[in-house]
């Protein structure tokens, strides 16, 4: 899980160690055991409301637009951790705009 955590560490550092949003984000993973097939959803709704669910267990929503942006920056930013996902995403959005 260190691999996963390392993705988010950059974000979290930007947000600040004592950020309530950061603490709430970390709390959402506490006590969870992730096995093959476990699903983590990080859902950002309008207004910057982040909902974290681990295997369907939803944590209390976190209102933090910077955290939402930072999370997506990990995957869609200049140094994406899953490059093929970013490439597919960009192509799909271009298709949305009819390109």
């Amino acid at each position: 899980m260190r691999e996963v955590a390392s993705h988010y560490s950059q974000i979290l550092l930007q947000l600040g160690r004592a950020s309530p949003a950061l603490e709430a984000f970390k709390d959402a993973f506490k006590g969870a055991k992730l096995s093959r097939g476990s699903v983590v959803n990080l859902c950002c709704s309008k207004g910057g409301c982040l909902s974290v669910s681990v295997d369907g267990r939803a944590a209390k929503p976190i209102l933090s637009a910077p955290l939402c942006s930072a999370l997506f920056d990990v995957y869609l930013g200049k140094d994406p951790v899953v490059p093929e996902a970013k490439a597919a995403f960009g192509a799909a959005l271009a298709a949305v705009l009819g390109k």
């Binding site: 993705h7 699903v39 959803n41 990080l42 859902c43 709704s45 909902s51 995403f89 960009g90």
Partner: protein, 195 residues
């Protein structure tokens, strides 16, 4: 009488019947009191209407988009990520009712000791395509597709629309390890800034 109404979004709203107000005032006409034949006829009406919509070409606004062109979905709501064999949802809806659709997928691979590669999780990136179109269509009207993809990714980071990161794990991991690893990465930085 059952009625099927189209919402403004890509959903079909189903109303059990139109006499809701009347049923409240007259308990004898409540849904619970309806005979089972009523519900059977209701299901038949639904089955009759839905294929008709398909024949008439009524499609989801995103049906034309090839969100995952390399993957054949085993069911309408799930695709299998080919490298891990793990399922990814094609749509995720929030409690507010807004939905995001799968637009990109891949596998997070970690190299261990510089040698072996380990699959950590399958990733799905979902976003409300309709909202994206509404927000960005005018802005990127004249851009070519080649230059557009990168710009759209940058836009999507801060775009205030429904969007979801879906991680489906390919190996067993403890949740406490997540918190521990986070703290481990945070503490050196905290020491550096606050010493």
């Amino acid at each position: 009488m059952a009625a099927i109404q189209r919402c403004t979004g890509p959903y079909v709203c189903f109303w059990p019947y139109e006499g809701t107000r009347q049923a409240k005032s007259d308990p004898r006409k409540s849904v619970a009191s309806r005979p089972i034949g009523y519900f059977l006829s209701l299901m038949q009406q639904i089955a009759a209407v839905l294929p008709l919509q398909r024949r008439r070409g009524v499609r989801s606004p995103f049906a034309a988009l090839s969100w995952s062109p390399s993957v054949a979905p085993p069911s309408p709501k799930v695709v299998t990520e080919p490298k891990t064999g793990l399922p990814l949802q094609t749509e995720h809806c929030s409690s507010r009712g807004a939905c995001a659709q799968l637009a990109g997928q891949g596998v997070r691979v970690k190299r261990i000791a510089g040698l072996a590669q380990v699959q950590v999780y399958s990733l799905g990136i979902l976003i409300d395509g309709q909202a994206v179109r509404k927000a960005l269509a005018a802005k990127y009207q004249t851009r070519s597709a080649a230059s557009l993809a990168s710009a759209l990714c940058a836009e999507a980071i801060s775009l205030d629309v429904e969007k979801t990161l879906q991680l489906v794990f390919a190996r067993t991991v403890g949740g406490d390890a997540v918190s521990g690893a986070l703290a481990e990465r945070l503490e050196p930085q905290a020491r550096a800034c606050c010493a």
